[in-house]
C-alpha cells in the first residue's frame, strides 16, 4: 500500500499558477492530516536557469527542462500541470499513460478535441487506479463550498434562476500591452476560456446541474494594443511581426462574453465574463435563486456568503451575510479560530488536500477531466452561438 508513503510531485510550469500550486503542496500537510504527505520533488520548466531560480524560491528539490522524461520518472507519483493550455493535453496524456496521477490547471485544454482526448485518457487511467483532476479551485473556497452544500441540502428549494459573472478590469487601459493572453494562437481563447470557464464551473457545481444549451455573444472591445517590448525577441511570443517597431498588434481573442445557458433541469442562467468591467478587480459572482431561498457569492469578498431564507418569518427575512469562517464551515476547522479570514490561495491548499485524499482513498477526485471537458464543450457552444447570431446552440 501507498498509504504513509510520501506523494512525490512534479510540477510542470512555473508562472503565477506555479507559485499558487507550490504554496498548496507546501502547506496542505501542515494544516490537514493527509493520508500521504506531498513531497515537492521536481520542478520542470523550459528555461534551466529560471526553473532553478523558481525551484530555489519555492522549495522544489530538483529541476528539469524535460517534461517528457519527468513524467516517466519512477520517483514521481503526481504530475501537476500549470503550463499554458496548449500543452496540457500532451503532458497530461503522457503522464496518465505513465501511471501518474495528474492535476491539470483549467482550462483543461485549448480545444474541445484535446479536452476530449484528455477525458478519454483519464477514463482509461482510472481503470488502473490512476487519478486525474482539473483545477477549478474556486469551488474549494469555504463560502463556495458552503453555497453548494446549502443548495444540495435544499436550503434554497428548487433552483429557478442562476446569474453568474466573472468581472475583472485589467484591460480597461487601451494601452495595456498585447500579451500572450490576447493572442488566440497561444491562449486558445480570451475571457470566455479564462474567466467564463470559472463562472460555468462554479454555477454547475453549486447547482449540481450541467448546461445543455447556450446563446451567447463574444466581443473584442479594444481591437489593437501596443506590442510588448518583450516581443522583440524573435519567436518568443508568436507576435513577432511588429516586434521592435513600437507598433500595435491585433487582439485576436474576446475580452467580453455574454451568454445565457439552459441547465439540464430546465433552469435558465445568465453569464458574463469581462476584462473590461472598470473597478471590478476579481468579481466572480454567483447568485442562485430558488423557491425557498437564495445564495449569493462574490470572490472579492471570499469569506462571505449571502443566504436568503424565504421560509423565515416574513418580518425577519433578508440576505444573511454569513462569515464563512466558523469551524462548522467546510475546510475551516483546520485553519484559524472563528472569524479569521482566509485568502485566495487557500482554495489551492484545499484542492491539494482533496486530491491527495482521493488518491489515497482510491476514489475519483472532482472535478474530473470529464467535467473539464464538459466545460470546454459549453464554452465551445457559446463560441459557436456567437458565430451564428447568438442562436441557441446545444452543448456538444
Amino acid at each position: 500500500m501507498d498509504v504513509d508513503k510520501p506523494l512525490r510531485v512534479a510540477l510542470i510550469g512555473h508562472g503565477f499558477m506555479g507559485a499558487a500550486h507550490s504554496q498548496a503542496w507546501r502547506v496542505a500537510g501542515r494544516f490537514f492530516d493527509l493520508p500521504r504527505q506531498p513531497r515537492m520533488t521536481l520542478l520542470v520548466g523550459r528555461d534551466a536557469r529560471r526553473t532553478e531560480a523558481a525551484a530555489r524560491k519555492w522549495g522544489w528539490e530538483e529541476t528539469s527542462t524535460d517534461w517528457e522524461e519527468a513524467v516517466q520518472r519512477e520517483d514521481i507519483d503526481v504530475v501537476d500541470i500549470v503550463t499554458p493550455g496548449a500543452s496540457h493535453a500532451q503532458i497530461a496524456i503522457a503522464a496518465l499513460q505513465a501511471g501518474k496521477h495528474v492535476l491539470c490547471e483549467k482550462p483543461l485544454a485549448n480545444t474541445v478535441q484535446e479536452a476530449q482526448a484528455m477525458a478519454d485518457a483519464a477514463a482509461r487511467a482510472a481503470d488502473h487506479g490512476t487519478r486525474a483532476m482539473v483545477g477549478f479551485t474556486y469551488r474549494r473556497l469555504p463560502a463556495a463550498t458552503h453555497a453548494r452544500d446549502l443548495v444540495a441540502a435544499g436550503a434554497v428549494g428548487t433552483v429557478r434562476q442562476v446569474r453568474a459573472a466573472y468581472l475583472q478590469d485589467w484591460l480597461v487601459d487601451a494601452e495595456a500591452p498585447l500579451t500572450w493572453r490576447l493572442d488566440r494562437d497561444q491562449a486558445g481563447s480570451g475571457v470566455l476560456g479564462d474567466l467564463g470557464a470559472h463562472a460555468v464551473d462554479l454555477a454547475q457545481y453549486v447547482t449540481g446541474q450541467q448546461l445543455t444549451e447556450v446563446s451567447g455573444t463574444l466581443e473584442t472591445l479594444v481591437a489593437t494594443r501596443p506590442l510588448p517590448a518583450a516581443a522583440a525577441a524573435p519567436g518568443s511570443t508568436g507576435l513577432g511581426a511588429a516586434a521592435g517597431t513600437g507598433g500595435r498588434g491585433p487582439v485576436t481573442v474576446d475580452d467580453a462574453a455574454y451568454f445565457s445557458g439552459r441547465f439540464s433541469d430546465g433552469v435558465l442562467g445568465s453569464f458574463e465574463a469581462s476584462r473590461m468591467a472598470t473597478g471590478r478587480k476579481n468579481a466572480l459572482r454567483l447568485e442562485v435563486s430558488g423557491s425557498l431561498g437564495a445564495v449569493h457569492f462574490d470572490l472579492e469578498d471570499l469569506n462571505f456568503l449571502d443566504y436568503y431564507d424565504y421560509t423565515a418569518p416574513p418580518a425577519r427575512q433578508g440576505f444573511t451575510r454569513i462569515m464563512v469562517t466558523e469551524p462548522v464551515h467546510p475546510y475551516v476547522s483546520a485553519w484559524w479560530p472563528a472569524g479569521h479570514s482566509l485568502g485566495y490561495e487557500h482554495g489551492f491548499v484545499h484542492q491539494a488536500k482533496d486530491f491527495v485524499e482521493a488518491i489515497a482513498a482510491g476514489t475519483q477526485p472532482m472535478p474530473s477531466f470529464a467535467d473539464g471537458f464538459q466545460v470546454q464543450q459549453v464554452l465551445d457552444a457559446v463560441s459557436r452561438s456567437s458565430g451564428k447570431s447568438s442562436v441557441w446552440t446545444p452543448v456538444q
Copy 2:
C-alpha cells in the same frame, strides 16, 4: 400667458400609481418654486364610489367616471394617466387632441402600434404647444440623475459596457394568485414590459445611447397559478373560466427575461428582468463601465451612487459610495439638509416638477412619447428575438 395661472390636473386611474402621482401633485409645489401651481382638480375612475373614496383620501376636488368627458373639460390643463396600459393610447390621444398636456405612466402602451399612434399624436400636439411625457420616474431619483450627469461629463470616459437588471421576487411563491398582471390580455406583457422597460430606459438615459439590436429570451417559470378569489365575480378579470372552482389558470406572460442589447454607439449591454429573484425586493441596477471610470446604481439603495475613478492615484482607487444627498446633487437642495435620505416617491415629485417647468417654458419634457415608443420597440424586438431562438433582432 398661462404663467402664474394654476395648472389644473385630471388624474385618470387610482391604483397604486394614482397614490404616487397624487402625492407628487400635492407636494411638488411645496418644495420647488414652480412656475405654475398644480391643482388637484379631478379624479377619474370607473367605479363612482371607489373613485370618490380615493379622491377624498388623496385630496382631489372632484370626481368623474367618464374619462372621455374629463379630457374635454375646459377647466383641465393636464391629463395624467395611470390606468392599465391597454387604455393608455385611447385616453392619451383624445386628451392631446383636446389640447391637454399629457403625462402617461409607463409602459406607454401595450402594443407597439398603440405606442406609435401615441407618439404620432404627441408630435402633432407639440406643434400646438401641447406637451406629452411618459413616466419613467426612476431617472429622476437624484442618484440616477447624478449617474447620467457623471457619464455626460465624461467622468467614466468612453462607455464600454452596460449591465442592467431589475430584480424582484414577488412571484417566488408558486401559490401566489393569478392576478391581472399575469394575464397577457390585460397586462400586455409580463416582467419584460413591467420591469425590463425601466431597465432599458435607465440604461439609455444614463448612457445617452439607444438600443438598436437585441438578442433575448423570455421565460415563464411558474406556468399555472391559483385563480384569485376575486375572479369569482364574472367578467371582472377575464380569467373567469375557472372562477369559483378554486382551480388554477395559466400564466400567460413572462416572469423572467434575459437579453443582450447593442447600443447606437456599438456598446453591448446585458439586461435581466425577473419577478423570481428570491430576496431581491426592488433591485433596479445599472452599471456603466467606461474607459476612465464606472458608475453603479441600485434602487434598493436609492440614495447612493457608486462611482469609480480610474484616473485617481492607483493606490487610492475603489468604488466611491457617494451619498447623493448633498445640496450640490440634482434636486436635493429643495429638500432637507445634507445626509437626509429621500425615498421612492420623490422621483414622482421631481417628475411633476420637471413636467410643470417644461409646460411653462414651452419646451419638450423628457422622456417624450417618442422615447416611450422607442422603449416599446426595444421590448418588442426582445420578444421577437425570443421567438426566433434568440437571434439578434434589430429594433424596429
Copy 3:
C-alpha cells in the same frame, strides 16, 4: 366628541424643522386613515413677511407674528413647536395651560430646569385630557421601530451591550462659519444636545431601558470660527461683537461628545456624538447585543435593519439585512408596495399620525415630555461628568 372634527394646527417656527412638520401635517391623512384630519390653520413666526412666504409655500391658511395670542385662539387644537430650544418652555407651557395639545421638537428645552417645568405642565395638562409629546422622530422610521419590536419580542434575548453614535461631518471645515448652533447662549448645547439626544432616545427606546448613570467627555475641536456675514446686523445673533470685522468668534459649545452610560437593568452602553466625523453625513447608529441575537441600525441606510439570530443553525448565522419595506413592517403598509424605500421625512409623517391617534384615543402619546425631560437629565449628567474628569455621575 371631537372625533371627525378636524384637528386645527398652529405651527410655531418655520426653519428646516418647519418644512418637515408642514410636510407631515399635509401628508399624514393622505396615507393613514386618521381619526381626525389635521388642518394647517396657522403659521407663526417673528418676521411677518418671511412667515407669510413660508405659509404660502407650505400651505398654511393664516399667519401670525404673535405666538402668545396664537396659543390662546379658540380655533386652534394643536400647537406644534419648532422654534430654537430657548423658547420651547415658554410656548409649550402657555399652550398646555390654554388646553392645546402640544408637539414640541427635541431637545425639549435648553436647560434641565425648563424641561422639568415642561414635564410638570404636561402632567397637569394630562389630567384634563390635553396631550404633550416631544419629537424624537427617528423612533418612527420603520427600521427603528422594527428594532424595538424585535428586542421587545425577545429576538435578541437579554440585552448585554449597547453601542450608539450619531456622526455627522458638517463642521470638518474649520472655516465653516460660526452659526447660532455654535453659540451656547442660543443653542443651549452643542452636539451633545443636538445629536447625542437622538442617540440617547433611540437607545432607550429600542432597549426599553433608561440611562441611570454616565461617564463622559465633551470636546470642542475647532475653538474659533469666522463670524458669519449675517452677524453684521446688530443684535441679530448675539454674536455681534466682532460683526463686520471679518473676524473670528469662539465656538462655545461642544462639537464632539463621548460617553458611557449605565442602563436601569445594569447594561453598559457606549455613546458618541460628533459633527467632525469626516465622511459621515447622518450616521445615527445603534447596535444592541443580546444573549440570543443583535440588531444594528444606521440612519444613512434607513430602510434597512441588520438582525443577527444567535439561535439559527450555526452554519447559517450572520447579520440578516432586512429591507424594512414589507407590509408586515411597522407603518409600511400605508405606503408603497414591498421594496419601495421611504425617506427621512416619513418619520415626521408617522409622528403626526401617532400624535393624532393618541389625541383621538385619549391616550398618552410617546415619547412624553417626561421622556424628553429624562433625556435632558441624561445629557446634563454627561455634561457634569465631563466637568469632573469623567467620573461616573448619576442621572438626576
Copy 4:
C-alpha cells in the same frame, strides 16, 4: 557577516499562535526575497509528546521541553515566543541576554512591571545588535499599513478623531466553559489585554501618536461559567477547586471594556473591546477622521480600506472602498495578481519578513518592546481608571 546564513529559529509554545508563526516562518522566504532564510530549527513545549506531534505537523526539525536550555543553544539565532503572557518576561529576557533576537507575541507581558523589565532588557540587548520585537501583526495587513501610509502622507489632513473597537462574540453563550483565558491568574487580563491591546496598537500605529491619558470602564457581563471538563486534571489550569463537580467557577477577568483616550497631539479617541458583541466575529475596527479626509478599516473585511477624500469635488465625495490587493499596495506585489485576497495569516508572514530584514539590516524592528511596554501602560491606566470611577488617568 550573517547575511546569507540561515536564521535558525526556536519557537517556544505551540498553541494557535504557534501554528500562525510556523506558517509565517515556512512561507515568508517563499514569497519575499529575504536577506537570510529562516530555518525552523527547534520547537519547544512543556509536554514532549504533544510538542513532537506539533513539530511533525508544522515541520520543525527538532523539539525540546527545556526552554532555558533552548535559548542558550549555539545553533539558535531567533527565539520566537508564543506562550501565555505570564512566561514572556522570563523567556524573553533570558533569550536576549543569551544574544538571541526575540520576537514575542502580544501582550508583551501580563504586568506592567514585567513589560518594563523586558523593554529594559531589549534596550540593553540593542547595544549589542540583538533585536526584539512584539507581535502586533495586524499592523502588517496591507489595508492597515495602507491606512497608516495615507495618514502619514497627509491624506486625511490633521487627525481630529479616532474611533477604535475590537468586537468578538465567543462569550455570548453564558454556558461557554471557563477556560484559562477567563482566569486572571493565568491570562493576566481579559478582553482589555487580549483585544483592547490590538485596538490601542493599531490606533497608535495608524495615527503615529501615543495615548497619554485614559478614562475607562471594565465589565464582566457573565460572572460565572461552567468549569471545563479538562479542569479535572489536578493542577492543569489552576481552576481545580470545582473540578469534576460539574460546577461553575467565577470569571475573574473583564469581558467588555470601554474607554476614551487622549493622544499626545491632543486628539481624543473612543475605544471598545468586547467578547460579547453578538454577531461580530473578529471586528477590529479603526476610523481616523481628519481635517481633509478619513480612513476606516475593519478586520472582518481585511482586504479593504475605506478612504474619504474631503478635497475631492463635492458631488463626487464618498467613502472609497479600496481593495488593497494591487501591486502598488504594501506587501502585495510579492503575492498574487491584483484583486486576489489575502487572509489573516499573511500578517504573520509580513511580520516574519520585516523582522528578518531588520535583523539583517541591523535596525530596530517595529513595534519594539518599548512600544509593547507602552501599550501595557495604556491598558494599566485604563484598568486603574476603571477602579476610580473612570476618572481620567495618565498613562504611567
